[in-house]
Amino acid sequence: MAITPPENRLWWNEPIERVEIGWIVVAFLWGLFMFFFMIAWHFIGGQNLSTETYRVTPAAYEEKVAAFAEKYQVDDEMGVPIVRPPAGEDVYLLGRLWEWWPILELKKGQSYRFHLSSVDWQHGFSLQPVNINISVHPGYEQIINFTPTEAGEYGIACNEYCGIGHHLMTGRIRVVE
């Protein structure tokens, strides 16, 4: 029994039953497949989170985002600037207690270098309804090469708990044709 020492002292020498061997082989090969599929997706797939990251002080990042917003602002909504950067340009978004700032207007099918960081606590970038979820840390600026594939209004929730106003933290990205 499983609660008593093995009856056969040299249990390692016992033969393994065919059904066990068969299952081990199947499970092992499936594991190998899943492992190599992750690697393969870097070459064949269109969705790989870039790992391009820099250290940045929150103050420096805030300045960069403010300069970016000022340069390309076209309008505002509820006091939040709406920013329309030219296609292919660097785009900045910052998370802070409790908003994603500013509102971005992007063009469908265009690729952007999308900068993401926080100026205070950790936040969770959660783009809806497409459901893309990325962790955002203060002090680290991550750059993702994004290409929106469909026009429409997208909401950004925060899905990393960031204190008492966590559920108030939202943002917006508008994708136009």
Binding site: R9, L10, W11, W12, N13, T53, Y54, R55, V56, A60, Y61, Y140, E141
Partner: protein, 54 residues
């Protein structure tokens, strides 16, 4: 339980893998080393090598 058949069996060599599995402290050692090296040490090195923003 020190009768004859048992002691005869004892002379048979215990396979190396069974010796490993019967040695809790060796298992403890490898069980700590593998994640410490692959996860913690490598992970900390990754963070340490993040460049400063241009």
């Amino acid at each position: 339980m020190t009768d004859h058949p048992e002691s005869k069996e004892r002379q048979e060599k215990v396979p190396a893998m069974q010796q490993l599995l019967d040695n809790p402290f060796l298992l403890l050692f490898i069980g700590i080393t593998v994640p410490t090296v692959l996860y913690i040490v490598w992970g900390v090195m990754e963070i340490a090598s993040i460049p400063i923003a241009p």
